[in-house]
Subunit: 112 residues, 2 copies
DNA sequence: ATCTTATGGGTTATTAATGAGTCATTTTAT
DNA sequence: ATAAAATGACTCATTAATAACCCATAAGAT
């Protein structure tokens, strides 16, 4: 049905977004890319790239990560190979985790 | 005017998104949060959280980062304090950078 | 200085993301 | 085994994100 209008973000989130935007801008300038050129290469519009560099929380994460990837900015401090390895390990780990969570009014057994 | 329909993502981007989704799911289970509970806490819907945990590139980055922040998953491998420091440093750096780019030859870096 | 162009900041039409709901299935506890 | 609840996987209406413009200004080169 209807939707909430505004959304709030923690300072931590906003700072992380601002930092990512800065890194992208720095990377773009270092690579001597024009805003138009980089946007075109990433398959997005210049106006979106502007918002990304500004750290706008409303940008889709796929667009942001793709731009970062093009500029060679490491996500999770990992290059392609390490990322793949970590993902595989993470997937195995998932299989061992419980599939559903029981919200604990009684998480801990205190009947002793 | 009209807009492109589909969007393509590099493998690196998709892997990074999948890893982030996994980390969020692991964090949620570790914190003994139900999907509903975590979504409510982050101010998003359960269906969106499901997509986030799946690594959907179409989610807004603010929503994803906010969930990560709630679970204590470090962005940029940095806690709040370090993040703030790094952002401040990054901002100073920005001031020294050229404001506009003059496209010279081409500097591409798409080998990730 | 002039000229060229990249950028910032808007506006608008359209597409896509989101919230809310439902239902079936799975999971966990009893 | 049974029950209760969490999850997965869809819909659909509405809102928000995006692309494509626009113009004004600032930045860089000559």
């Amino acid at each position: 049905m209807p939707k909430p209008i505004t959304r709030t973000y923690s300072r931590y989130t906003l700072n992380a977004l601002a930092l990512m935007g800065n890194q992208i801008r720095e990377g773009r300038i270092a690579a001597n890319f024009t805003a138009d050129a980089l946007a075109q290469r990433a398959g997005i519009s210049r106006s979106l790239l502007q918002r990304i560099e500004k750290g706008d929380p409303g940008c889709t994460i796929g667009a942001v990560f793709e731009v970062a990837a093009i500029l060679g900015i490491p996500l999770f401090e990992a290059d392609s190979k390490i990322l793949t390895t970590r993902l595989a390990y993470s997937n195995e780990k998932q299989a061992l985790l419980p599939k559903a969570v029981r919200p604990s009014g009684r998480a801990v057994k205190d009947d002793f």
